[in-house]
């Protein structure tokens, strides 16, 4: 088999190349030729094609994502901002936290178990490459119609993949989302979030500094998986009996990843590493070009030294392989032996594949032949940037005009009760225990809160009790009704969920799941959502530390609901004061913080009962949201709450139901004057939370609310002698719901569908 060398590219400049099959546009190919002053070699073409893909280059989203950097006031807590593997925030006491969410949507549809498993693997490596110890994962998921038989295949595979990988890695799963909507039928969303902690001094960045330093590839061997596309190149460029089409799916090895975590943290803490980078999308192409362009600017790589699982791999395939569980480190020559010793201790294979230089070029040789000679920045950072056309589609008018006003509402006590029972069992509101019980939430012994609480909470420092809380949220129906406001509502919900537990929101990450950027309507949704999110961050003073964009989530012409998942991180100085969601004490008072209006567009009630989506999403007042969070945190600090829970999907009915099911203790409630029972129970007005206040803290609580001029309504109290929800003033009548019955309804749904 002949190798396409740099000298061949010079000697035979007009050889035709399969750039289109590799996903490059003609003008992109031309600009590669321009950058190089010649045609690329097939290896160079391989590198550019993966690095300039939408996934790696953010070519359609870049112009909009800039807002996250431009609009957010630099917040003191940002230690490392957007652009690195993951952002890092200061949480005080010398501790820093890094967190990031990424998508693995498409692979998870093709091979649900492995797709989801490797999604967890990938985000965890991003976190270790910052020098942090991963301490928890979360998994926001979206599935199609729960009654469709393919949903069963996808969901069961994805759930066991996330568990199979995360459990074996020893990371507690502390939260996530399971949402069903037909728009995800051919396009489930698997977003994976990882949180890592470290001391400030341990922060590491991905750059290749220090002339003469060695570039070490370590971890799993490189194989022929995850390189579906490049086989085109192999078969086009080489003779007919070149390698067969390689699979595009990768298989994860969580045990190797666990060794990689321990090995990486040990070399980092021993001071053996100058720069470090994980290998994810685009494999060695990405790691070497990013390391080189962030450092001294040059690197030479001996590609034939890469340890292979399959000796028939071509250099192009090796450059593009997305084999999992690999990392790249830059190490001073005098420390190579010590580095290798640590690898040996953990049974991790490692090999020096390159050297840092100041040539300004990334050069790669293969058995003595030069096959790549490129400016590394041109591969890693200077990819194409598109200003894709975007336009508000006409159908938005129709959608916004068709509000929920005419949907039939329950109008008697009996109908309210029946609606409540039905809503408790809908797939979106039902208990997710069937899913979450497949995840280990206890490992590491620092989980303070996990599902079904509003946020996951992890103790960071066992001595002081310092902790962090993280929540991810997005009601995509709101985004479908108004992408600007919908994205802000997602942010607000996540922010509130963190505050409800007593943690102060500090920073956000996001995973922007959208349809095709080539569709101006989708691009409009994207632009609006990013702008909404950036504006919200500016107003709330919460920086975006990083995130991920996933485009092309659509089946044929039909895109998924735009789904910008927002993850908010908050800090709590002492986890002992966290606010749980379940009440415990007799006579504690139940309050609603916030205002309830008739807002049912995009609500779970409209979706579940009427399959309706239309109108305008709830009004959002960000200033009020901030005040609410201040009250929730102050209440936690002042020990004013015995429990608290946010109000979102399913309205107050769902909030109350979840609190009761978690608690098992009954309550007496009354629909507040001025509201009808239906609106009170199922409206999804934003900026609300239910708090439970011990009687002896009542005055202080009311003083706090008054000092912030925040609306607060008492609507019930805890009744230790009862095991039911007693609700009065329901259209002139009262209803009683047995908590055990609610729990049965809630817990039956998922096992019935997927068990």
């Amino acid at each position: 088999m002949s190798i396409d060398k740099v000298s061949d590219a010079i000697a035979a400049p007009e050889t035709s190349q399969p750039y289109a099959e590799l996903g490059l546009k003609k003008d992109e190919y031309e600009s590669i030729r321009e950058i190089l002053g010649r045609r690329p070699t097939s290896s160079e073409l391989a590198m550019y094609s993966v690095m300039w893909s939408e996934h790696c280059s953010y070519k359609s989203s870049k112009v909009h994502l800039r807002q996250f950097g431009d609009k957010v006031p630099k917040n003191d807590s940002m230690l490392v901002g957007i652009g690195e593997n993951a952002g890092v925030v200061d949480i005080g006491q010398g501790w820093a936290v890094t967190f990031k969410v990424e998508s693995h949507n498409h692979p998870s549809y093709v091979e649900p178990y492995q797709g989801a498993a490797t999604g967890i693997g990938g985000i965890v490596r991003d976190i270790i490459s910052m020098g942090a110890r991963p301490v928890a994962v979360m998994d926001p998921l979206r599935f199609g119609n729960p009654e469709n038989s393919d949903t069963r295949r996808v969901l069961t595979g994805i759930v066991s993949g996330i568990g199979g990988y995360g459990n074996c890695l020893g990371l507690p799963n502390i939260g996530g989302e399971v949402v069903f909507d037909p728009s995800y039928q051919g396009n489930p969303l698997v977003n994976a979030l990882c949180i890592g902690t470290m001391k400030h001094k341990d922060i590491h960045l991905a750059k290749a500094t220090g002339l003469g330093n060695a570039v070490i590839l370590y971890g799993a061997r490189t194989g022929g998986d995850g390189i579906g596309g490049v086989s085109v190149l192999a078969s086009e460029t080489f003779d007919a009996d070149g390698p067969a089409k390689r699979p595009s799916v990768q298989v994860g090895d969580p045990f190797m990843e666990k060794l990689l975590i321990e090995c990486t943290l040990e070399v980092l803490h021993a001071g053996l590493v100058e720069g470090i980078q994980d290998l994810g999308g685009a494999g060695i192409s990405c790691a070497t070009s990013e390391l080189a362009s962030n450092g001294e600017g040059g690197m030479h790589v001996w590609l034939d030294r890469v340890l292979l699982r399959d000796s028939t791999l071509t250099p192009e395939e090796i450059l593009m392989s997305e084999s999992q569980e690999r990392m790249c480190a830059v190490v001073e020559p005098s420390k190579i032996n010590a580095f290798m010793d640590v690898c040996k201790k953990w049974d991790v294979e490692a090999v020096v594949i390159g050297e840092v230089n100041n040539s300004g070029r990334l050069t790669v040789e293969w058995h003595g032949e030069q096959i790549v000679d490129v400016p590394p920045r041109s591969v890693a950072h200077d990819g194409p940037v598109y200003e894709r056309p975007f336009a508000r589609p006409d159908w938005m008018d129709i959608r916004n005009a068709a509000g929920p006003e005419n949907l039939v509402r329950p109008s008697s006590a009996a109908e309210v009760k029946q609606t409540w029972l039905t809503m408790t069992g809908t797939p979106n509101l039902a208990s997710k225990i069937w899913v979450t019980s497949q995840f280990d939430r206890y490992v590491m012994g620092n989980t303070i809160l996990a599902q079904p609480e509003d946020s996951g909470m992890i103790r960071v420092d066992e001595e002081t009790g310092l902790g962090v809380a993280v929540s991810t949220d997005c009601n995509a129906r709101f985004v479908a009704l108004d992408p600007y406001k919908g994205a802000q509502l997602a942010f607000a919900e996540s922010y509130r969920n963190v505050a409800v537990t007593g943690a102060a929101p500090l920073a956000i990450t996001n995973c922007l799941n959208f349809g095709s950027p080539e569709d101006p309507a989708v691009m409009w949704q994207f632009e609006r959502a990013v702008t909404g999110l950036a504006d919200a961050c500016l107003e709330m003073g919460t920086p975006v530390t990083g995130g991920n964009v996933s485009f092309y989530n659509q089946t044929g012409d039909v895109a998924i609901h735009p789904t910008p998942v927002v993850g908010v991180l908050g800090v709590i100085e002492n986890v002992e004061r966290r606010t749980p969601m379940a009440w415990r004490n007799n006579g504690d008072l139940i309050y609603l913080l916030g205002t309830t209006s008739d807002e049912l567009a995009g609500s779970e009630w409209a979706h579940a009962i009427h399959a309706h989506l239309g109108g305008h999403p709830p009004v959002l007042d960000l200033a009020a949201e901030k005040t609410l969070a201040e009250i929730l945190v102050a209440g936690s600090v002042g020990n004013l709450f015995s429990a608290a829970h946010d109000v979102s999907e399913g309205g107050i009915a769902q909030t109350i139901a979840e609190m009761s099911m978690q608690s098992g203790i009954g309550i007496r409630l009354e629909v507040p004057a001025g509201l009808d029972a239906f609106t009170f129970l199922w409206s999804e007005s934003a900026t609300r939370a239910v708090v439970v206040v011990p009687q002896n803290q009542n005055d202080e609580f009311l003083t706090l609310c008054a000092s912030k001029s925040f609306p607060v309504t008492k609507f019930g109290e805890v009744d230790l002698s009862s095991k039911s929800i007693e609700l009065a003033a329901v259209f002139g009548d009262s209803i009683s719901l047995d908590i055990a019955e609610l729990r049965t309804i809630s817990e039956e749904t998922l096992p019935r569908l997927f068990g």
């Binding site: 066991s160 074996c168 190797m256 060794l259 497949q438 280990d440 206890y442 490992v443 590491m444 012994g445």
Partner: protein
């Protein structure tokens, strides 16, 4: 003198830090033991923690039993050293034939993580002496292969000799024969348990602090046997 309790880390062990924390909260000193080192460093007892030793790709605990530290441990166990195997540690103990039977795939085929009620059935073992017989405790359970199986004869023997140390209550979470959650060897020094006492040692992070009893039992037994002074 405070007792020193070893915690073995295999590649893929996950709950080793938790086991060490539990030992310390109970008043002991935890000593890290490494799978590749055939040395128990003179500890007075050993905990085999939960996790996925060597990935558990073959069979849980199957590869761990061939590690250098296990050769030493098997001899020490036969010599009376107190050993507690939790979850994966229990699997390693059955694979090493320090305890009878085997742990198989959960009957419902899923990994399961839940707060599990148990009834203590034996308080003669080194690791359960601090409990009452019949005491009900609540500790986390998390496993994919936790179904305890053995032939009828072995099961009868275990029952007859009072060697079942804990049974699942309310729900049998994995199809274990006769609801068995944990057993001991005839001598009472080697105990295997599927649920995780080390995750129920602090109010903030566990469903209870019932798990501490296993570790305080050990420390008391060591004092009583004069191995260490109170």
């Amino acid at each position: 003198m405070t007792p020193r309790v070893g915690v073995i880390t295999f590649p893929g062990s996950l709950d080793d830090k938790d086991a060490a924390r539990a030992i310390q909260l109970a008043g002991g000193i935890s000593v890290a033991l490494w799978h590749a080192e055939a040395d128990l460093h003179g500890v007075e007892a050993v905990v085999l923690p939960g996790g996925f030793s060597y990935g558990d790709y073959l069979r849980c605990g199957a590869i761990a039993k061939f590690s250098p530290v296990m050769e030493k441990l098997v001899d020490a166990a036969n010599g009376g050293l107190p050993i507690l195997g939790i979850c994966n540690g229990f699997q390693v103990l059955t694979e090493s034939h320090l305890l009878p039977g085997a742990l198989t795939r959960n009957d419902h085929l899923h990994f399961i993580c839940r707060d599990q009620k148990l009834r203590i059935e034996n308080n003669n073992s080194v690791w359960t002496s601090d409990f009452e017989i019949g005491q009900e405790i609540l500790i986390p359970l998390k496993n994919g292969e936790g179904g305890y199986v053995a032939d009828e004869k072995t099961l009868d023997e275990l029952e007859g000799e009072g060697r079942v140390i804990a049974r699942y209550l309310e729900i049998n979470p994995n199809g274990s024969r006769r609801d068995i959650a944990g057993i001991t060897n005839a001598h009472g020094n080697v105990v295997g348990i599927m649920p995780h006492p080390e995750h129920a040692v602090e109010k903030l992070t566990g469903p209870s602090i019932d798990g501490l009893g296993f570790f305080t039992s050990l420390l008391k037994s060591l004092v009583n046997e004069g191995k260490v002074t109170a």
